[in-house]
């Protein structure tokens, strides 16, 4: 498998997302689920072969019969099974949530100042909005490269070089950042937005402008971002039928 041009987007909290992938080409998790399996640059498995493989494992046949009575093992039921699993990948209660619920000691004073910046001077919340810190929208944030992103699917001027806004829940566990993985650390991401992105072009979102944050403001913003990470119980890897 060769490296892909785009970083793998998280499936965290995608139960609440409509359009999936960085360019929004899949309308729902069921449509998304099979794409990486058949994509030539990813798992490169023809879907009829996938069905044949799953059907060849007795334990899987029994599990599918229980989950989808009267339906054969098919692209449809496999997609539904994977999508159903993906919907269980949900972020937990983070320090930020405990603070919002009234625990003043849940986050530091710096993080509280960072939250003010997030909503005010840094204007992150214009796109990273709501409980999941995403508008589920598409924006050109000024990253170099020839990948036109959403613009390939929806050829409007504003959609050129536009990519989906990712959730910021548990973001500090998902480096590198941006759709192409071009920023290595949260600190780099904040510097990126502080200078107003890397490329000026007609499709650049009007919200992307230099922020003129001070060193301490950048630190506060990062402190806030780290409060969005929840501590989860490790997921036990199941024994897969063979």
């Amino acid at each position: 498998m060769k490296p892909l041009n785009r970083r793998t987007p998280t499936i965290l909290n995608t139960a609440w997302a409509d359009l999936l992938f960085w360019d929004g080409r899949a309308d729902g998790l069921e449509e998304q689920a099979l794409n990486p399996i058949s994509a030539p640059d990813e798992m490169n498995q023809p879907l009829d072969k996938m069905i044949e493989t799953v059907n060849g494992i007795e334990a899987y046949k029994a599990l599918f019969a229980r989950a989808y009575p009267g339906e054969p093992v098919s692209e449809k039921t496999i997609a539904r099974a994977i999508a159903t699993f993906e919907r269980t990948v949900v972020s937990g209660i983070a320090p930020f949530d405990r603070w919002v619920s009234g625990d003043e000691r849940a986050i530091s004073d710096g993080a509280k100042r960072g939250f003010d910046l997030f909503n005010g001077k840094a204007a992150c919340a214009k796109c990273h909005s709501g409980w999941n810190f995403t508008d589920n929208g598409f924006h050109d944030i000024g990253i170099e490269g020839s990948d036109r992103g959403r613009g390939v699917r929806l050829p409007l001027a504003s959609m050129q070089f536009a990519f989906k806004t990712p959730t910021l829940r548990n973001a500090d566990q998902r480096a590198p950042f941006m759709h192409d993985g071009s920023e290595q650390r949260l600190e780099d991401v904040v510097e990126y937005y502080d200078r107003g992105g890397n490329v000026k072009r007609p499709s650049l979102a009007p919200e992307i402008v230099p922020l003129h944050l001070s060193t301490s403001e950048k630190r506060d913003l990062i402190d806030f971002l780290r409060t969005l990470t929840s501590v989860e119980k490790p997921t036990e890897v199941p024994l897969f039928p063979r």
């Binding site: 508008d135 589920n136 929208g137 598409f138 959403r150 409007l156 504003s158 979102a205 009007p206 919200e207």
Partner: protein
Amino acid sequence: MFKTILSTILVAGIALPMFAADHEISQADKAFSKSEITIRLGERLIFKNDDEVTHNVYSVTPGMTFDLQRQAPGASSSITFNREGTAEVQCSIHPKMKLIVHVQK
């Protein structure tokens, strides 16, 4: 592809004057003020951006395609529908924003 067959007026930063055959749709909190509207042929829809973020109203419904392009907060844009049918209208930036427009004689 997005060559429009509909007439469009774009006015940035100011409110458009309203006439009897006009219908206003507000955009606030990343939502249209209505999810569905029925208008008559030749009537005008005015899209007003009452939000704090940029919007881009468009439709790719065959025969009724249009692109109002980016609308800054406070701006209004309008479109006149000169063809019968049902157009699915969305914001390209925020795809959860959806509006069905029924155009009747």
